[in-house]
């Protein structure tokens, strides 16, 4: 899922300083699961903002709403009547939701309320870790299901580098060396010899390096949509 973290309150208060009425808009998707921008976080942030502004003597009217998914124009359509009455929207969705929201309401200022961090997994209460960088051409088949692009600090394909020690990465003693994990898992599966083969240079054109990506599946396109 997409992991996000709420922006610091001072930054958000700064964004909203010139507004009198804002919509704090949550999303029921990933940010709800990672506790950054779901209904509850909308409620808490809403209170925090309203109280902070009351204290300053410049009251802020906070409308609170959480929709199913902000990365979906259909759900955003459903709140057009609320959006109409506010000065601006503070979106607690991921970067995708924030942009979709801005695209749906071209005449409204949309502020980002979270920092979108990475694509990852929830390891423990309050702990998330990166797992994928959407490189566009998955190599997990060759690496025992462990991603070298996202999980090796140097995204190398023929690791581990010389900094790997005791299974940890040279960059941070609390981070597992992805290549140590790959090596150990393939060893357990009896496949470690596959690592003797050199993994060829990667075609990054499928990744962000090829420019903004777009996926079109003709099998799903409606005739009229063409």
């Amino acid at each position: 899922m997409i992991i996000a973290e709420r922006k610091p309150i001072d930054e958000i208060l700064g964004f909203l300083s010139k507004h009198q009425k804002v919509l704090v808009l949550g999303c029921g998707g990933c940010v709800t699961v990672c506790l950054a921008g779901g209904e509850k976080e909308v409620g808490i942030l809403g209170s925090e903002l309203a109280m902070a502004r009351s204290k300053e003597g410049r009251p802020l009217e906070v409308v609170q709403k959480t929709i199913e998914r902000q990365c979906d124009f259909e759900y955003l359509e459903g709140i057009r009547h609320i959006v109409k009455d506010v000065d601006a929207i503070l979106s607690l969705a991921c970067g995708i939701g924030i942009q979709t929201c801005a695209e749906a309401f071209p005449d409204k200022i949309v502020w980002p309320g979270v920092n979108t961090k990475f694509l990852g997994v929830n390891l423990n209460v309050g702990v998330w870790a990166e797992r994928c960088q959407a490189c566009g051409q998955c190599v997990l088949d060759k690496t025992g299901g462990i991603c070298p692009v996202a999980r090796c600090s140097k995204s190398i394909f023929n690791g581990p580098c010389g900094g790997s020690q005791n299974g940890k990465c040279e960059v941070d003693p609390d981070t597992d060396c992805a290549w140590a994990l790959i090596h150990d898992r393939l060893a357990r599966l009896g496949e470690v010899d596959s690592l003797r083969e050199i993994m060829a240079i990667k075609d990054w054109s499928f990744s962000r390096d090829g420019g903004p990506r777009k996926l079109v599946r003709e099998d799903l396109e409606l005739e009229s949509g063409k």
């Binding site: 394909f157 023929n158 581990p160 790997s164 020690q165 140590a180 690592l195 993994m199 060829a200 990667k202």
Partner: protein, 305 residues
């Protein structure tokens, strides 16, 4: 075809090879490089020029290499994958070659987190093994995309690093094998501060016959203080320092003299070790001791090849 580099000729001659290292300064003061070049001239076949080592911005390795050439020393250009994509790397290799540099050492590069620009974006378009492959292709006349060069290909003697002290231990040998497969001609190891582990690694290297495919130069670093040894043991990832070595330094009256003595003994030992083609002396911030080390270890004068 132009003549092979002196380093290559030495490696092929079967003589015990000696390489050194010069770290370019954090300024445009080429005189610092020149000063070290003058001091070290004649003591080693070739000198590594580090490439923004530990991710700290320094005078470029190729520019420093040019200064070495002017001073009559042979450079060994280090090139890290952290700062260049395949386009920049190949371009730099062509440039270095045009200036007369023939030895190139491919490295992943220390992560920028440790350097003086930790907020930088890193590149890592290719890794060190893939870079070796690219250079091997280039000297055969092909760019990384498979396109054939229209002109004479660069003449390269390709090096790599190996770290017998990183993990997983046995895989370190496989990794060296991959580098040899990729086309590396020689390899300089991480500095040896745990001789026992190094010997075990060499056993595995010999068992696979790797020493016959790639020239292995053992890394030598004279240690200046007990503190430095302990620091390396504890904080430098992929570094091992044996307790014996620390104990010897601790007991010594003159720690610096003992550090030099240990380095010399290590060289003597490597000279006798099967599969070792030479040594790579990295006297970090202690370059002035290189002549003494070489002399006392019986590495001087260097043979003509």
């Amino acid at each position: 075809m132009k003549a092979a580099s002196k380093l290559q000729r030495m490696c092929e001659s079967g003589n015990f090879v000696v390489t050194g290292e010069i770290g370019p300064p954090k300024s445009c003061n080429g005189e610092i490089v020149r000063h070290h070049a003058k001091m070290l001239k004649g003591w080693c076949e070739s000198f590594n020029l580090t490439d923004n080592q530990t991710a700290i911005v320094r005078l470029s390795s190729i520019a420093a290499g040019k200064i070495l050439l002017e001073e009559g020393l042979e450079p060994n250009i280090q090139i890290v994958c952290r700062d260049r994509n395949r386009i920049a790397a190949q371009s730099d290799i062509l440039g270095a070659s045009a200036l007369g540099m023939k030895n190139v050492l491919c490295l992943s590069g220390d992560h920028q987190k440790f350097g003086n620009h930790p907020t930088a974006k890193n590149v890592f378009d290719v890794d060190s093994i893939q870079l070796i492959q690219i250079l091997d292709g280039m000297r055969k006349g092909y760019f990384a995309n498979g396109e054939q060069m229209k002109d004479e290909p660069p003449q390269l003697f390709i090096g790599c690093a190996a770290n017998p002290f990183a993990d997983p231990f046995e895989f370190r040998v496989t990794r060296l094998e991959k580098k040899a497969d990729a086309g590396a001609d020689f390899c300089q190891t991480q500095c040896i501060l745990d001789m026992e582990r190094f010997e075990r690694w060499m056993e595995l290297v010999r068992a696979r016959g790797l020493h016959k495919r790639i020239k292995i130069l053992g890394g030598i670093t004279p240690i200046k203080s007990v503190k430095a040894a302990k620091y390396m043991k504890k904080f430098v990832a992929g570094m091992m320092v044996s307790d014996d070595l620390i104990e010897r330094l601790e007991k010594a009256e003159d720690v610096k003299a003992e550090g030099l003595q240990i380095a010399i003994e290590q060289i003597e030992r490597l000279k006798k070790m099967e599969g070792i083609a030479g040594v790579h002396i990295m006297a970090i911030a202690w370059e002035e001791k290189v002549p003494e080390i070489c002399q006392r270890a019986g590495l001087a004068p260097r043979p003509e090849v």
